[in-house]
Amino acid sequence: MIAETASKTLSFPQAIAATLSQEMARDPDVFVMGEDVAHFGGMFRCTEGLLEQFGESRVIDTPISESGFIGMALGAALVGKRPVVELMFVDFSLVAADQILNQIAKTRYMSGGRVGVPLVIRTQGGGYKGAAAQHSQMLEALYVHIPGLRVVCPSDPRTAQGLLASAVRCPDPVLFIEHKQLYGTSGEVPERELLLDLGKAEVVKQGTDVTLISYSYTLTLALQAAENLQKEGKSVEVIDLRSLNPLDFDTLAESIRKTHRVVIAHEAHGRCGVGADLACQIQERLFDDLDGPVLRVCGADVPVPFAKVLEDEALPSAEKIEQTLRKVLGV
């Protein structure tokens, strides 16, 4: 057996910063821009040290003008640059929605496939921090709904590193949504360059009784729920979706054909969410393989509330996921 390549432990923000540094060193066309990314090192420390390494022309502090600087990233990408924009909160993406959805996402198709937009919008979302309704959302469904963007959600430092490096090298625009709960976590990452395929899901825990599909921070909760049931001898297969667009349906299908039962867990609202779309596609394409209804654990359809008891009520937990798995398994 070949020994694992050397690894090290990094916090999630360190993994992001190290990857950006690696990509900027590799390709002089890669640059970073956003609010407080240069002199301050990023609100969440994800761009720390880049200014010192690469200077002000490639690590650019912007005014609070999300629409403006995201639009500028598009223009820079069209003339050969590889911009990586930091959008401090995904909630703020809505002030730049025209640039992201009408301009960036549609450029390639509107040009008949002739003009690509290689840029990355790194942003973060999610709740559990008492940040209330305008700083706690998971908005991925909005961006999956409009064709043209790749939408990626890492679930730990390793996937952050491998998916971000691939995103920077991707010829399509990538919305890279980190989760604020993950910023406080650490994990093993390889010493060497890591590239993870965009558009590939991964089975992160093998199982036989039910397929549990999740992504982003909710994957952590999903794995806890799966471990709890393991103690009772129930075998849950857990899949980290990673890429919401494009969707790796093949990996899901392979698992579902084995387990015949499905639960989908994510933090965003249920209505018209990623889970709703997956449940629909699964019944359309795998109806005969299913032994029961596809169930979802989602954020409640309310604006994310401030008070802790209300926020806890609104968002997924390991316990809620476990209860739903029990329902599907009949235990």
Binding site: L78, G112, G113, P246
Partner: protein, 322 residues
């Protein structure tokens, strides 16, 4: 001797500009007829009367310079060197069109010619132009970038964000504003308290100049100065070109319900084509024969494009991702 050569070169350039303006005018006229006969799908936003702006402005740019324009920007695409035939084929929704029939008239784009995109959203391409200027600045600033838009765009939030950053970072770019006095159907005076747009630019630290947008020579001269400043690292310039569309906002708007005949007439007397013909002492007869030549070219191209195959429905989903 040198002065004579220079003058004759200039006359020959102006003659080309006159031909180009006639081509743009004929292009709009023929496409309007096609639209009215039901053979052209979608909206047709016209710029009749404003031809000196694209022709004068693009004359000041080098081939590698970049620009974004609006849904009224086909004149700039043509003046920047985008293949006229491919534009017409695109407007007719053909596979052979500039964007393989996926974009249509409002989304013309041709990176090889520096056209970063026309746009269906008012002000939607201002940031794109500035981003290309930012990239140029990173590479030494020799390539300039231009955002071309109308007076309505100045009131878009996105534009103000970009004006601010362009002024702050002294980007090598030109904001070329065609002030035709109306944002769609609403006059500037009912859209903003300060109708002198150059004054607004003071707040962003952007020098500005107002120019007669119906005088192709004046437009080119002001544009050359702005391009020179940008290339030499002095930052952006805002050019306010005063002009007028003598037709409506789009093919189904006669443009007469919100503007007086007297006003329209007074601007028709300032027609950029007639004015340049007069400067060049082109006789009415010669002008008419130049006009016929332009009409012939447009008609011939439309005929060619109409016979081209449509895109294949089975290719519907191609070209969304790399």
């Amino acid at each position: 001797m040198v002065a004579t050569i220079h003058a004759s070169q200039q006359t020959s350039n102006l003659k080309l500009q006159l031909s180009l303006m006639l081509l743009l005018r004929s292009f709009e006229k023929e496409l309007t007829a096609l639209s009215q006969s039901g053979k052209l799908r979608g909206s047709l936003h016209l710029a009749t009367g404003q031809e000196a702006c694209p022709v004068g402005f693009c004359a000041a740019l080098d081939p590698q310079d970049t620009m974004t324009v609006t849904y009224r920007g086909h004149g700039y695409a043509i003046a920047k060197g985008v293949d006229f035939k491919l534009i017409i084929a695109e407007i007719l929704g053909k596979q052979e069109g500039l964007c393989h029939g996926r974009g249509g008239k409002m989304h013309l784009v041709d990176l090889d010619k520096g056209l970063l995109g026309a746009n269906g959203i008012v002000g939607g391409g201002i940031g794109t132009a500035a981003g290309a200027a930012l990239a140029s600045k990173m590479d030494g600033g020799h390539r300039v970038s231009a955002a071309v838009f109308g007076d309505g765009t100045v009131n878009q939030g996105h534009s103000m964000e970009v004006f601010n950053m362009a002024g702050l970072w002294k980007l090598p770019m030109i904001f070329f504003c065609e002030n035709n006095l109306y944002a769609e159907m609403t006059p500037l005076s009912r859209s903003t308290a300060v109708i002198d747009l150059t004054r607004k630019m003071e707040a962003f630290g952007i020098p500005s100049v107002q120019v007669d947008g119906n005088d192709v020579q004046a437009v080119e001269e002001a544009s050359q100065e702005a391009v020179r400043r940008a290339r030499e690292g002095h930052g952006p310039t805002f050019i306010e070109a005063m002009t007028y569309r003598t037709v409506g906002h789009y093919q189904n708007d006669p443009g007469t319900s919100y503007r007086s005949q007297k006003e329209i007439q007074s601007w028709m007397e300032l027609d950029p084509i007639t004015r340049l013909a007069s400067v060049l002492k082109v006789s009415d007869k010669d002008l008419e024969s130049m006009r016929q030549e332009a009409v012939g070219k447009v008609k011939e191209t439309i005929e060619w494009a109409m016979a081209l195959p449509d895109p294949k429905p089975s290719d519907l989903s191609e070209g969304i991702y790399a």
